[in-house]
């Protein structure tokens, strides 16, 4: 396929920032890649696409869907065309995320201790205390190095003018980083030679940086602290990621039943007896980590773990209670936090957000419902949302009833049409909407962000929902150097 014919079929949508094309011209940073791509025949691209699927399957990069007691292996859809971001754009993103994480982390420390931000009237007390993710149990708990958000995945989107907006701060147990790593190793199988010839920055350092941070926060005077990764088990859809990270870091992958607390210390049960654990990177939600304190029905956690944590005998990553900072109703206050704590102007934009508690906002939102999206403050994964542009009047009326019952549980935002990038779909190159989730690591030596991230794609034409549970896929993300 020639260069021009490839492009002829590529029709961008109006009012959408296309990352590859501007007025029918290829942007500079896509040029090198696209010239290589135009040398490849469509049949060859189909073969490459099949190769990628086969590789994911045989490497077991799959998640299992259980039905009728039998497991069906599924792969997360992967698009072979990488998404490319320039070094300048990345520097902007990096600075913006660092600033944001720094402020959010101070906010968590403040909100669980002195609450200056409430006393100074920047954030209303009612907002915090009505947040179901505010953990009273965390009040006045000293966490190692005052770090709460060791690992965060910030979701970014681009508006029609190309500027980056933060959509969500995932500060609890963000997942997807293994796909950032796997997608890269898929790209060099599918497009040999292109990663070096495009001068793409490596993402390989992620596990090493994470391990370095985990080791550093151990409280025990020991040259080799024991770090474990706590997983809910093989039935969790992110289990593949847990095993990958444990393997890459060389730490023990444990389940709740492998751990026991004795005298406020955490031990794991080994063939050689009990061995003390210093740091737990948990991929189990707050609610399930300790049945004595939180959900008493949970068998995923460890009885007494929270007590050991409060005593400082074990570090938990991320800190419990972070949900108060990534609550969607707290989100509109983040720019204020940045000004209040850091005395800086926010680098990244936030999406205008209407609290449904405010009757005026409620009225405004439902008057303009076709341009709005309403979300639950406490949910993620694209669940429980109402996209005003595509909902029927009935759906809107039913949703409104819900909102009016518990206004605190909902926020509304204007629909932002995400930027689009080229994807290989139905044997041709077509634009699809994407977001970007870089992963920030916060350790005693500061915040580090591996140059890359997870690009999620809404594979259905015109769709703006990128969540993997709702027909989303992913692609490799190239940050040029």
């Amino acid at each position: 396929m020639s260069f021009t014919s490839l492009l002829a079929e590529y029709t961008t949508r109006p009012n959408v920032w296309d990352e590859m094309c501007a007025q029918g011209e290829i942007r500079d940073h896509y040029r090198v890649f696209f010239e290589s791509l135009s040398q490849v025949s469509p049949a060859e691209l189909v073969r490459k696409d099949e190769l990628a699927k086969k590789l994911f399957m045989s490497q077991g990069v799959t998640f299992t869907v259980y039905s009728d007691g039998e497991g069906i292996e599924k792969i997360f859809p992967f698009d072979i065309i990488p998404r490319i971001i320039t070094a300048a754009e990345w520097r902007h993103i990096e600075a913006g995320i660092k600033q944001r994480i720094k402020a959010l982390n101070i906010f968590l420390k403040d909100i669980y201790h002195d609450q200056f931000i409430i006393k100074d009237g920047v954030i209303p007390a009612a907002l915090i205390h009505s947040c179901s993710n505010f953990l009273r149990e965390m009040v006045n708990v000293q966490v190692p190095f005052d770090i709460y958000t060791h690992i965060s995945g910030i979701d970014l989107i681009r508006d029609s003018d190309g500027s980056f907006y933060v959509l969500e701060d995932n500060l609890r147990t963000p997942s997807g980083v293994s796909y950032m790593l796997e997608n890269r190793s898929m790209t060099y199988r599918v497009f040999p030679g292109l990663v070096p010839s495009n001068h793409v920055q490596s993402v390989k350092d992620y596990p090493d940086l994470l391990l370095k941070n985990l080791l550093a926060i151990s409280n025990r005077q020991n040259s080799q602290p024991t770090v474990v990764l706590l997983t809910p088990g093989i039935y969790n859809s992110a289990y593949y990621e847990h095993t990958t990270l444990a393997r890459l870091m060389g730490v023990e992958l444990v389940e709740g039943r492998d751990l026991v607390v004795d005298n406020a210390k955490v031990y794991m049960k080994t063939t050689a007896g009990l061995k003390q654990v210093d740091v737990i990177y948990r991929r189990v939600d707050d609610e399930f980590i300790d049945p004595l304190i939180f959900n008493p029905m949970s068998i995923l956690g460890v009885s007494g773990l929270y007590y050991a944590y409060r005593q400082g005998n074990v570090a938990i990553v991320n800190a419990p209670g972070n949900g108060v900072a990534d609550d969607k109703a707290v989100y509109p206050f983040v720019p204020d936090m940045i000004k209040y704590y850091l005395n800086e102007e926010p680098i990244l934009k936030t999406v205008p957000t209407y609290a449904m508690e405010n009757p005026e906002h409620l009225k405004h939102v439902f008057e303009n419902i076709h341009k709005m999206v309403i979300k639950k403050t406490n949910e993620s994964g694209g669940y429980g949302m109402l996209m005003g542009s595509s909902a029927t009047d009935q759906q809107i009326a039913a949703y409104r009833e819900e909102v009016e019952k518990h206004p605190r549980h909902f926020i509304a935002q204007p629909i932002i049409s995400l930027s689009s990038v080229p994807c290989f779909i139905n044997n041709s190159i077509q634009p699809r909407h994407v977001d970007l989730r870089p992963f920030a690591l916060y350790g005693p030596q500061g915040i580090e962000i591996v140059p890359g991230g997870l690009t999620r794609v809404a594979l259905r034409e015109g769709s703006l929902v990128v969540n993997s549970s709702q027909g989303g896929g992913s692609k490799d993300t190239w940050i040029l150097s």
Binding site: S58, Q59, G60, R247, L253, K269, T271, A272
Partner: protein
Amino acid sequence: MLSRVADAVFWMARYMERTDNILRALRTNYIASQDEIQHFNWKLWVDGLGANTKPSAQQYTYREALYELMLNRENDTSVLTYISRARENARSVQDYVTKEVWQCMNDYYHLIRDKRTEQLIMHGDPVTAFDDLLRESTLFYGTVDITMNRGEGYTFLNLGKYTERLLRALDILELKIKEMENHESEAVQWKFLLYALSGYEFHTKFYRNALSTENVIHQIFMNLQFPHSVLYCLLQVERYFKRLDVISLPENYKEMEFLLGRAISNLRYGSPEKSTTSTIKPFIDNTRTEIKALSQKLAILYFGYS
């Protein structure tokens, strides 16, 4: 290493070894049933290899038997179930087995669930299916050998492997003896038994005479050059177990060491003087009971995590 992980590695190895042994036995049986043995008793094998509680059919054709023993998802003792379980175990210890080993098991799993495999077994040439599957199995052993470090994981893997191989040899021997009671010619049966255990060529070289019960029994129980013999496997179990000395709690180690030593002595010095099919049966039972007790003790002392 974590007790749960040790347990999972041990059972992963047991399921893999079981699959390999059963595939080889079925392959041999299938070939025998197509050629030398006119009325092959498949029911005996379906009942003997299975732990099915529901009453089985009166008779099995070879396709029905192969379906039951290889592909039936409902059957707890089909090859498909074993491979799925081995993979489930491997999945839960992916940070312990190497990435290569995991990928190998994963390919194996996809192969047994492949439509083509099913087609070969149910309608085509089952030998091709056996060979394809056994190639994956062999790859697994090679991959373990080349990529896994010789730490605790490897030790538990080998404990599982040799324990299982030993029990399988006893089971297959017992089934063959049952077949003989149904008046099949002994020499033919012994030949297929040795084929199933990959020991026929070795037998002709080592014993240099026509197949006799005495020699076959000796090979299966005592021959240290034969990697499927009971004594060979038990000594391997002992060899790997001794590596646990450094990490074990002393009292646990002593208890296991005693049981193992006793089992080896009983095997060496307690076998019947004159081996016939009838004298050997109680000996098979005793050995099996002893090995199972040993395996249970290992589970209590090393895998106890609940």
